[in-house]
Amino acid sequence: MAKTMRHLVIVVILIVFWELLARSGWYPPLLFPPLRDILRSLSIHKQEILYRTCYSISLIGKGFSVSIGVAFLLAGLAVFYKPISEGVSTLMGIMHPLPAIAILPIALLWFGSGNRSIIAIIIFSSLWPLIANIYNGFRSVPATQLEVGRNLGLKGMNLMLKVMLPASLPHILTGLRIGWARAWQASVAAEMVFGASGGEGGIGWFLYKKRFMMEIPGAFAGLTIIIIIGILVENIILAYIENNTIKKWKMAG
């Protein structure tokens, strides 16, 4: 709790700093709106923002769960089969420096301009950190625990599920944390560059529209939501999982 309080204090300092800058007159208020305007815009658009946020989250949900599945599959196979491990590491070497935006044209070509492209971008950006962390996790399971598992007659899939998975939880959570941040970033970026369709579209599309209609307080309202969601997921959901697992068990990554 004390930690949350201190974080709040810092957030308040940042907000005050923003407000001072906005009122300083150094920047045109058109582009650097005071807090009041941002809040007003938030309250005006709250329904749309809510809808778009849920929409973004649903897209991320789909993409991220595919990523997680594929990452577990590949990392699991890579632990047991050397050639797969080589293949995955080469693919990662090639794909990691590629900005997700650079693959937009190919995504468009293969998946069309709809949600599927955005989901593809989300998968593309979250897959590599997930694989890397899960694979690392699997490889750093204490040898003794693995052998205890084998001594108990576990092998293959069973050993994976009952020993390797819980034993690599700290790394898996790190992977989820980074993967989530990247998925969220990718979904917003994809919609901002790439646009989305009017009826549908997530918070990135909201930002995009507000920017093009020069409703800058609205754009900042969207940014605020992105930040808040990021903090919520990080500090509430992931922190909750951590507190009830690896922190409770004192497992270190």
């Binding site: 058109l30 582009l31 293969w110 069309g112 301009s113 709809g114 790439f194 646009g195 009017g198 093009f212």
Partner: protein, 314 residues
């Protein structure tokens, strides 16, 4: 007014006015590229700092932040900015260009056929294409926002790629060279031309100058107008040579570029068409919140002089 007069009196050879101009990329910006290549601005004493932007949105924000003195964009995006207080006015017309809604789907022959489930790509909300589509929707479907739920915002190249791949996108409201590229594919047809939607000719792009620059650098302003004027005049007289100069810039064969530049409906001109019509429509349909009381609110004296001649003193 007096300032318009001084503009005409600038003689070649003077030096030293700084100006920051947005350099954008595309066929419609050909005159600007010619002016740069042939030094038309320098000729009138301008010292140009070129700034590149990936989108009209970014250029508009730069105008607002005082980071830029002059930029080119469509009338609707300008009006949206004006409505929100971007301190700039129209300094000159720039180009009249074909802009059309293209489809490859044989079941779509007019916008009435665009039922839910189809998707129409255009560059961004609030763009010329978006407003034109609204105008057509109002006229033919009775509701300017009837098609809004079908829109997909895609940058031109991505839109064209999606059209050619026939993935998800069924129609694309686009400009040259994508328009030409798409129409040269078998089975791709125009179902709505910009002029039909608008009901006449309109400036596809206009030149904007910030109030601050206009007021503080009348000579620079005049030189800028002169430079663009001369570039446009030169291009209209020397299309062949212009194609030759610009072909390496666009990485296009000279012939192809020449064909594009002389396409029917492509017209580089400093006259401004359609300013008020756009404003009225956008006010009526809620894209902007106010209407200029008087054209002088959105355009400088030299534009008013021309419009006064062409549009009967509105």
């Amino acid at each position: 007014k007096g300032k318009g007069e001084t503009a005409d009196q600038i003689s070649p050879g003077e030096k030293g006015y700084k100006i920051r101009i947005a350099e954008q990329f595309g066929l419609v910006y050909a005159p600007l590229m010619i002016a740069r290549e042939k030094g038309f601005f320098e000729k009138y004493g301008l010292d140009v700092e070129w700034k590149r932007f990936g989108s009209g949105g970014a250029a508009r924000e730069a105008l607002a932040s005082g980071d830029l003195d002059a930029a080119f964009m469509g009338i609707p995006p300008f009006l949206i900015g004006w409505d929100k207080g971007v301190p700039a006015k129209v300094a000159l017309g720039y180009v009249v260009s074909p802009v059309s809604l293209v489809t490859y789907n044989p079941e779509i022959r007019s916008i009435k056929d665009l039922k839910p489930g189809y998707k129409i790509a255009l560059p961004s909300p609030g763009s010329v294409q978006h407003i034109l589509l609204s105008m057509a929707a109002e006229r033919e479907l009775g509701d300017p926002r009837a098609l809004d739920d079908l829109l997909v915002a895609l940058p031109h190249p991505d839109g064209a790629a999606a059209m050619i791949a026939k993935k998800d996108i069924h129609a694309h409201f686009t400009t040259p060279p994508y328009l030409f590229e798409e129409l040269s594919q078998p089975g791709y047809v125009e179902i709505l031309k910009g002029t039909e939607a608008f009901g006449g000719e309109f400036s596809f792009n206009v030149g904007l100058v910030t109030l601050k620059y206009h007021d503080e650098n009348p000579q620079g302003y005049a030189a800028f107008i002169q430079g663009v004027n001369e570039a446009i005049a030169w291009i209209n007289l020397n299309k062949r040579e212009a194609a030759k100069i610009l072909s390496p810039k666009f990485n296009l064969p000279e012939d192809k570029l020449y064909k594009y530049m002389t396409w029917e409906g492509m017209n580089y001109t400093t006259a401004t068409y359609g300013l008020l019509e756009f404003a009225e429509f956008m006010k009526k349909t809620g894209y902007i919140g106010r209407l200029p009381k008087d054209l002088s609110e959105v355009a400088y004296e030299n534009v008013l002089a021309v419009i006064g001649k062409r549009e009967g003193g509105q």
